[in-house]
Subunit: 335 residues, 2 copies
């Protein structure tokens, strides 16, 4: 019966920042349209830190105490309604939780095939940030070739993914902000045209955008910061500019200026991946497979790996993410 057990990251306690262990748990079984993936590597996300603290509970039907929203591995067993996959195929994708384990079970349409250009650690660093960035800029903000984009936190996981996809998809100019000059420099390697370091005064980037665009502003703005940037964001946006709210690192409430919203005909859209229905996630994964995977295959865009850790070192991996000093993704190699 040893086949029915597996190792997994498990949340032991939600006290303080929470406590993790590596535990032996029951190996899940894939039925109907589900696929069991033998997980080779799993990416870490800020949502995992929240879940560890008890502030981001897993949705129903998902292991409550095993974190993990993305993974790369091999199809190992399929339910009897599965049509898209055969055992042995290399896949990566989204999970609603439970991916930081040796095996994870997900709906077959939450998976895409890993291109040859990527190993498992690299592939595990892809789904959350690339699907978030692609969905935000293309599906939500309908970025058109030639348009100007501003990406906040351009050195973050979503930021580097956004900069690369925007560049590869023919954006006119890709601008970015970061908290340090080093992050801006590294983001340039991924295609950033112009960047500015933003300290306590967000007007700095609004002025920089005005200069870079000769006063025209950007058409698309990917915001991971939130409240503290809102006013400067409305300045940085040009006529009919679209801003996508992806994160709230800088607070969650700020005064909205209706006159600028109407005068420039601006659009603000809030977005989040995890809360979506299985059907909506499938649609996002399908668009990712169609638009982004080919870019990964020909190395026009690439995952940004900060560091990989062995499963045994999961606590160190989480500490690394919590340090806020990462550039790119932290990944756990499972087996």
């Amino acid at each position: 019966m040893s086949e029915e057990k597996m190792r997994a990251v498990r949340i032991l306690s939600h006290e303080g920042a929470g406590e993790l262990e590596v535990a032996e748990v029951e190996k899940p079984v894939a039925r109907a349209d589900r696929v069991r993936v033998c997980v080779r590597a799993a990416g870490l996300n800020r949502a995992d830190l929240l879940q560890k603290r008890g502030r981001y509970p897993a949705p129903p039907g998902v292991p409550a105490d095993i974190p993990g929203l993305e993974f790369a591995g091999e199809v190992e067993q399929v339910g009897d309604e599965v049509r898209m996959w055969k055992t042995g195929q290399r896949v990566f994708g989204l999970a609603a939780g439970g991916a930081q384990a040796e095996y994870a079970v997900v709906p077959e349409n939450h998976l895409a095939e890993i291109p040859d250009a990527l190993d498992f650690a690299g592939a595990a660093a892809v789904p959350e940030v690339f699907i978030t960035a692609h969905d935000a800029m293309f599906t939500q903000a309908r970025l058109e070739p030639g348009e100007r984009v501003l990406v906040h936190a351009a050195g973050s996981g979503v930021g580097t993914a956004a900069v690369q996809i925007a560049r590869a998809a023919g954006a006119g100019s890709v601008y970015g902000t970061a908290r340090t000059a080093e992050k801006i420099e590294r983001a340039r390697e991924f295609g950033l045209d112009e960047g500015v370091v933003v300290g306590d005064d967000p007007r700095v980037f609004a002025e920089a955008v005005r200069e870079w665009t000769n006063g025209a502003g950007v058409q698309v703005l990917l915001d991971l910061v939130g409240a503290s940037y809102l006013d400067a964001n409305l300045d940085a946006l040009g006529y009919r500019g679209r801003m996508i709210l992806v994160g709230t690192l800088g607070g969650a409430s700020a005064a909205l200026d209706f006159r600028r919203m109407m005068g420039k005909r601006l659009q603000l859209t809030g977005t989040a991946l995890r809360a979506r229905s299985a059907e909506e996630k499938a649609a996002a994964v399908r668009r990712f497979a169609a638009h982004v995977v080919p870019l990964l295959a020909r190395r026009s865009v690439r995952p940004v790996l900060d560091q990989t850790f062995a499963l045994e070192d999961v606590r160190a991996a989480y500490e690394r993410l919590e340090s806020n000093e990462t550039f790119g993704k932290v990944v756990i190699q499972m087996q």
Copy 2:
């Protein structure tokens, strides 16, 4: 040479609430793609009140001191590039200003043909409010058949137009708010399913929407009030709800809650008609001609006329609009 003069409403002074007169001015000539319309009736708008106060200057190329953003009349003379119109056709449409005169010159693609069902006074009450409501709900918010809509200020010009078009286009339910029970009752005659009187506490309508929709919220919200309703609006919107900011009667700055924006994946879009380019206005008029004019022709929707005034009584017409007691449009009959 008397043919080259015409009578027009003219702003004499911007002092205080401003001062109007009926003046003899030069009759404009239509060249190139322009059409001269013999104006039979012209609608009044809040923007005219602002212009009278000196706070809404006319754009370049438009008579600076003749108000009027919409009209109904007959094609009287055309420029040599005009292809869509012949003299004598009954037309209504948008002007960037100058429509409260016996003649107005506008680009040919800012006009639509008046259906037989409408007389000139009724037709003059149509363009601004129906184009604004249609553009906001359909072009901007992409209202789908079966969706639930909330219209604030449901007794206003834009409000009654929105209620009627939403109803005629197969919205699932059309809800509304107004400041008085009388306005709600009258809005019901135009297809409002449920309405609530809102005094000082906007939570009243958020609760009403929760009840009407069994907690699901509305998918589209047409907001003419602005700041004071923002928080309750975010409550009233359901998952993936779209809100269009059309007016700021209730103030122009309020705290935006980013977590609800992201958690419900809400979209806020600011809109305004007058600031648009001639090309954008032409596109809005084309969509209005395609979608709304047929509804007017078969009387599925109808203009809402508060009162008509003769040109000589223009001051009384403006006073009526300023009274805030109108239900529907105030129209000046020119000749």
